[in-house]
Symmetry: C3
Subunit: 444 residues, 3 copies
């Protein structure tokens, strides 16, 4: 980073203390506990891989760029980048944009504090050139101090052709729980498991097959994102079997009541399988899909912040041996997350998700967590990235905020030693990830 | 302002930077995008015009003053002011009170840091004397750096007798949407439009007339305040026509189901007319009227913070060409506002409204907005004032907070130049108001 | 406190100002307006009395300690403390733990910055030795600058055998409102009142007896904790009488509809009795009991943050002469509390309760309160303590935050004199408690 960097988070006071803590935290080798990295193509070969991240497309669209400007499949990469750049001046105030600037400077040695219509082609070329290097992925991970990365795998992912110790599989179950009425999902399930799913028993067998397959391939977590109106209940097998028959026959036209009942059963059954396989079950609570269906790709989801952790109390009670790392979409739910983690041994706070992953929300939510919940139950951060280049600026943002909070709330206000504050930071950034998601040997 | 002023917001650190940014922001000539100014009597001729602001009457009442002490119509102005002053000691900690002190010092050269029973008569005299000056309104606007002010006009306002380029009309539609069952409202509509509203077609004609009338008189916005349980839907004309017939016949005794259905239709129709006339539609979401009906005048409304922007998603989807500047009453809704503005091109964040218009809420909400949403979609502030004297202290409060955030989050943490931070402040204070509500020529 | 204390809240800047204000606030003799102190055993005789506080047992349990490790009645005190200590390393980041450290240092002259497996026995002995001193209770209260303490008395408390001017009775009414269907509660009521509760009239007589008994014994408040779905309504006597008959006959098997209807009637009747007896009625809004029934003792309650003060608007309107000091469980409700106290003369903000009693929430909630509501309507803090030793560290935490806010928001930003800021602090810490809960003579 150049001395004049626009994106380094400097602080007006406590300067040396905060910087010193941040620098120590930066030395910690990371395990990124949640991402959307494609292990077959983890890094970027073109600037469109970076600027195509939904944060930039949706913000450019929000600022006035028509969706068609970038979503026509006939547009070549360079044209698309040019069109995006035209619309990104309006977002240069956002933290999302600082991620782009920061990674350009840190990973591509971009010498400027801005990327705009006057200079973007230079960056375009740098990204292409770097992407051609066979070592690029390794270089990025090394510069980002990242050792391994959790994935978000479709349930029918063969998990073959990549190093599952560097790219750790995580079984994503949204489709199984919410979309089984779509014939394509059922077909994928049958193809993956080689089981004809025509009864609840067979569906259960297929689920068991998936868990066995994932665990045999070093999966360390199961995960699901959940709409705000979901409140898990246990459903008896007879009712679930009947609902499944409806869903199998009626497909996408199924009565929503059947689909919902089957979702309850499936969710509960998946939790039982997490228990059997000792997999933590990541709950990502609060998203409503396709609130804005004519928005850009991946820029269509929002939420209703009126959600409560009480909806999950029965689940937490029913599965005391399953660890639930929980993420909440809206910061207003953070206090409930803190307090449910305070009381329930099996509830763990997990990162700062999506719409709450901006500095002012992180700062507030982090302080509330650190001061009230055992330090062993806090997973500090995950990147949620689609390309590994974004791990660096996102974790960098988080580390700066964490360093700030550790300096102010612990070293200054509580007179902790700097070493002790850094050790707490280590727990959040690395120690708890290792312990919660499996032993060190397995993760490494 | 005197050197010893009680009300200037000074900051303990970054002193010179924050002050420098604030001073630059103070030079920006303002367009105040929402107020309740009466253009026929914009300024105050008596201290009771100032202390009669609901913030003072409701807080004095809250602190123990009986409503009757000030609401008997036989009480003369000076007696009423004296009674209020007696009860305002208990509110000297509030920011609302600092507005009063600040305007007294800035506009009336009030030499003291307090206004109390010992000295208020001096201020009383100053206000009367200033109010007698023909130039007083111009003086206030000039000292406040205000060029033009949006009004809140009843739908039957003739919009005559004032300069609509200084006092910009805004069509307020609460009565049309929610109160058409009141015979007086219907009579006002018929008188204003010269149309007998006895069918849905005629009602529609009357609405069209109002829009034409307002737009012919330089109206730049339509506006409405909405209760937390309102979730707009599109209603077919046949159902709406039937509901209207009930409402016309049954008036205030109408079945609430008919009133609600008609409200849905009217709200949707008004949005269509905003589209036709290219008027932004200000949505002020969350208020419940008359929660405390025995409170003082204008001190009776509160809210239920359990409201979600999801209630408006269908509206935003259905009117992509209508701009919706949205205000939310409770700060807990601010994150949803940020995130809906982040995704929807036609949603703009608008000011800090009423119960969220105090410094700690503004500071928090502003940071969350500035770091996540395109800078073009942020209308920084409006005064909501009933008398122009309040524009100065309210905008001054906002500018100080904005300067603080720009200094800390942009100049220090992101290493922006001061000029660039000030330019961002300009967008919020002036540039976006001009662009969103109409072109410069029209507004000036 | 030693110079190297871990727990003193020092601040990085404004150092001398904040410290000076804090030191002045520390001289104020306190009336603690809400606690669970047992007046027959107010102080601790054993470390298990301190570490048995639910904050430590529930956090140790949350961090992994089995409930059985500490809840077997056969475990002796020292063994139980040893087991807790083993599990408290994981909570050394929490503010709850700083309370323990702070009281150890301040009250027991504990010379270290940690209490752990290596040294706890030394503290164990100190607590036993101090507890043996007849003067210990007086010493603790004196060092804590506490003059008197409000209790939380069961409705059938004889209120005998203690000084009701030091330990001020408060009639806790949860059982009467919510648990009358439990035969044991009815039996306790009959035993306390010597009235056979077989009709609504008799139930009313018993309630009247309780109020008379409490008021005759210097009670200064009535109190209740309320679940988030409670919304008081007035029920007619005929319906209530019928519901009571069901509840008397069916006991714990009663139809919940009858129990609820009776709860409404009882709550309303108790509010009437508060009016008659001029007792403030403390409402503690939001808790759900036994969300986690297999949690440790007193570590089973949580909440649903989706609650609104609007549920109480009708109550506030109906009882203008009753003062309602209101506490809310989740910080998200704090703005509603601020705004209902801003409008309703009889609503007072009361302390920082339970899950919102951690520094970052207090800081935020306090700023929002101080800047918007008359200073006469703010009860700053209560300890909620079960043992008097916790009053000191909890009030110390609050005073430091209050000093910080007074320094930043009032002395620096508003240029108040330090004396004036301290006077505002006095109102919150002492003046308002005296005025709201009774005159000085009665309280002393």
């Amino acid at each position: 980073m150049t001395a004049m960097s626009t994106t380094e988070y400097e602080l007006p006071q406590l300067d040396s203390l905060q910087r010193s803590i941040r620098d120590e935290l930066s030395k910690i080798t990371l395990i990124d506990p949640h991402s959307h990295i494609n292990p077959h193509s983890p890094s970027s070969s073109n600037l469109v891989d970076l600027l195509g991240y939904h944060y930039y497309t949706e913000l450019a669209h929000s600022a006035g760029m028509p969706r068609e400007s970038i979503e026509d499949p006939n547009i070549d990469a360079k044209t698309k980048v040019g069109r995006l750049i035209e619309n990104l001046g309006a977002i240069d105030n956002t933290v999302q944009w600082t991620w782009m600037l920061h990674l350009a400077q840190e990973l591509y040695d971009w010498p400027s504090d801005c990327i705009d219509q006057s200079n973007w082609e230079g960056l375009y070329d740098r990204v292409v050139q770097c992407g051609l290097r066979e070592s690029w992925t390794d270089e990025v991970l090394q510069r980002s101090a990242v050792e391994s990365i959790f994935l978000t795998n479709d349930f029918d992912d063969p998990l073959a052709g990549f190093d599952t110790h560097r790219y750790i599989p995580c079984l994503r179950t949204d489709d199984l729980v919410f979309n089984l009425s779509q014939p394509a999902v059922r077909q994928r399930l049958e193809a993956a498991s080689n089981i004809t799913v025509n009864t609840l028993e067979k569906f259960d067998e297929a689920l068991q097959f998936l868990f066995a397959h994932f665990c045999a391939n070093n999966a360390k977590a199961c995960a699901i994102s959940l709409p705000p109106d979901f409140a898990p209940i246990q459903v008896d097998a007879v009712s679930a079997a009947a609902a499944l028959q409806h869903v199998l026959v009626e497909g996408s036209d199924s009565d929503p009541a059947h689909v919902r009942l089957l979702a309850y059963w499936t969710f509960w059954r998946i939790t039982e399988l997490c228990r059997e396989h000792k997999l933590p079950f990541d709950l990502m609570i609060g998203v409503i899909r396709k609130v804005y269906p004519t928005g850009v790709f991946q820029g269509q989801d929002l939420y209703d912040s009126r959600v409560s952790m009480i909806q999950y109390a029965n689940l937490f009670r029913s599965f005391p041996s399953v660890t639930f790392p929980v993420s909440v979409l809206a910061s207003v739910t953070n206090q409930e997350l803190v307090d449910y983690a305070w009381i329930f041994p099996n509830v763990v706070m997990n990162g700062h998700w999506w719409y709450s992953n901006t500095p002012a929300f992180i700062d507030r939510d982090l302080r509330n967590r650190l001061e009230a919940v055992p330090k062993t139950k806090q997973i500090g951060y995950y990147s949620d990235a689609y390309k590994i280049e974004f791990i660096l600026p996102k974790f960098s943002m988080y580390r700066q905020i964490l360093a700030n909070v550790l300096a102010e709330d612990f070293v200054i206000k509580r007179r902790w030693t700097e070493e002790r504050a850094i050790a707490l930071g280590y727990d959040l950034l690395r120690g708890n990830v290792e312990r919660i998601f499996g032993n060190h040997q397995q993760l490494d």
